[in-house]
């Protein structure tokens, strides 16, 4: 579905991504794990065109999307849930969801959009209760649900998820991960998820990549990564835990 090859992305002179190659197959959940500042967000932003790579290749459904503006990439079926959620805080929950379907909006399919909003509400019932509330007044977990729901409104074939558990209490972030796995089971969404919480992400994913200072250093099945000594030491905090226990 998506194949990026040898991508190089810069912030001015800072070389943030060095020859990064990643692919995501249809129906798969792929996790990209790495420490803070490793370049995870930059990978997603390079795919969605927010920080266009200077070199490389990005093929989505057979089309080269490199260099396309973000709004066109979204129209092709890639939807990104940005780091820190970035919901439209002064607007209502319903309006946020409507905007998620912006590029599908037309007079003709108004009723189908209504139905899609209903679908999001049945997936996240709490959002139905809060539909007329200003989005900025939602709790962190609810805002994350709204961000996911908003992204689903564009009917994406590929969902890019950036640190959904960031800043959430452990209980809440567990809930969010449960919902993401429901997304996979019920909606068969293809997902590329980026996480610092490597364990949760790998438990969810089929495959994983490890990124370190802008370079992909490992690619394996989730199981393989979960059992990998180095990954355990660097990202899963296994040893530390064992000493504690």
């Amino acid at each position: 579905m998506l194949r990026i090859k040898n991508i190089n992305t810069y912030y001015g002179k800072v070389h943030a991504l060095k020859n990064v190659s990643i692919h995501v197959n249809v129906g798969e959940i792929v996790a990209l794990i790495g420490a803070n500042g490793a370049g995870k967000t930059t990978v997603l932003n390079s795919i969605s065109g927010i920080t266009p790579p200077r070199e490389g290749e990005a093929i989505f459904k057979g089309v080269n999307i490199l260099g396309l503006p973000t709004d066109q990439i979204v129209k092709m079926g890639i939807s990104q849930i940005p780091e820190g959620r970035q919901i439209f805080a002064p607007l209502t929950v319903s309006t946020n969801l409507e905007l998620g379907a912006y590029h599908r909006y037309s007079r003709k399919n108004k009723s189908s959009l209504k139905k899609d909003i209903e679908d999001v509400f049945s997936f996240f019932p709490i959002l139905r209760e809060r539909r007329n509330q200003i989005a900025g007044t939602l709790s962190g977990g609810e805002q994350q649900m709204l961000a996911i729901g908003r992204a689903l409104m564009s009917k994406p074939s590929l969902l890019l998820l950036d640190e959904p558990s960031m800043g959430l209490a452990p209980m809440i972030s567990k809930d969010i991960f449960r919902m993401i796995s429901r997304l996979k089971d019920e909606l068969k969404t293809t997902i590329l998820i980026v996480e610092q919480n490597a364990k949760a992400a790998l438990q969810l994913a089929d495959r994983g990549y490890v990124i370190e200072t802008g370079k992909i250093i490992m690619e394996e099945s989730s199981k393989g990564l979960l059992n990998n000594k180095e990954v355990q030491r660097a990202y899963l905090g296994k040893e530390k835990k064992e000493i504690w226990e």
Partner: protein, 297 residues
């Protein structure tokens, strides 16, 4: 005329001129929200609106009902052309370069207006005669009713646009968070274009309705723009209802000050208010301090 009738007279004319400041302030806000810049050509839209209306209805003798929409259309095109040829081609836009561009454009507009209309002050007849209507001992100029009425219509239409249409919501989304808006599939550059078209159109309307009261010349844009900017700042940059309230307040203060103290202070009052706000509470009366700084482009 007894003092209280005089005061009513001043308040009425203050509300009228204040309505125009409010519309101009809304024009500033629309562009500020989509680009974070102050469009210094906003006042020139008002001037061009007045003079274009005079061209259509006085020189070509078109009826008002044709001249009005035609003028708004011309101004919309001017806004689009301005954005397409001066704002959008800038490769790496920063707030400062964009603001300098709008200043350059304002000088250009003024120059062109001087070539087309000359240096004379032009007159636009009031929409429905000049015979005053008696109102609480004061005389109400019928044009005042037109100005306030059309302002109300503009405000209502704009609120409907921003609250209930998907394009309006998308423009608001761009104002809140440009990156997130583009992730919704919103073409942010097109929203910027739209904001210039819209601002120019309502700036033009302000010029059309005020011209019969203040007359219009090629160099009136700067002062009108400054008053509108004062209202926008006073109401909190980007704040829709703040701009309307502040515009009216500014108009009434100016009118009372000019009438009761000295007419020479008319412009000084608005500028004084602007300076005081900038010094004391730059976020405006309704603003939150943290949003007072310029948003990053």
């Amino acid at each position: 005329m007894p003092l209280y009738s005089q005061i009513i007279q001043y308040v009425l004319s203050g509300i009228t001129i204040g309505s125009v400041y409010a519309i101009i302030a809304l024009g500033f806000n629309i562009i500020y929200n989509s680009t974070s810049i102050i469009n210094f050509a906003q006042g020139e839209f008002v001037m061009l609106g007045g003079l274009t209306m005079i061209f259509f209805t006085v020189m070509l003798k078109f009826p008002l009902v044709i001249g009005f929409p035609l003028t708004v259309l011309v101004l919309t095109l001017i806004g689009i052309i301005m954005e397409r040829f001066t704002i959008s081609p800038i490769k790496k836009p920063t707030v400062v370069t964009l603001i300098i561009v709008t200043i350059a454009v304002s000088i250009l507009f003024k120059g062109v207006a001087m070539l087309v209309w000359g240096k004379d002050t032009h007159f636009l007849p009031p929409f429905s005669g000049e015979k005053g209507i008696a109102f609480m001992g004061a005389s109400l100029n019928p044009q005042y009713i037109w100005v306030v009425g059309i302002t109300v219509v503009v405000v209502v239409l704009l609120s409907i646009f921003f609250k209930y249409t998907i394009i309006g919501k998308a423009m608001t989304a761009c104002a809140v968070n440009r990156t997130a808006a583009s992730l919704m599939g919103i073409n942010v550059k097109r929203m910027v274009l739209l904001s210039f078209a819209l601002s120019a159109a309502i700036g033009g309307i302000a010029g059309i309705i005020i011209a019969p009261i203040t007359l219009m010349a090629y160099d009136n844009g700067a002062m009108l723009g400054l008053k509108g900017f004062g209202a926008a700042v006073l109401g909190g940059l980007g704040n829709f209802y703040g701009a309307i309230f502040a515009g009216l307040l500014l108009g009434v203060m100016e009118s009372l000050g000019a009438g009761l103290i000295h007419s020479g202070y008319k412009d000084a009052i608005a500028l004084l208010v602007l300076l005081l706000v900038l010094f004391i509470k730059p976020s405006g009366i309704f603003g939150v301090t943290e949003v007072s700084g310029f948003k990053k482009f």
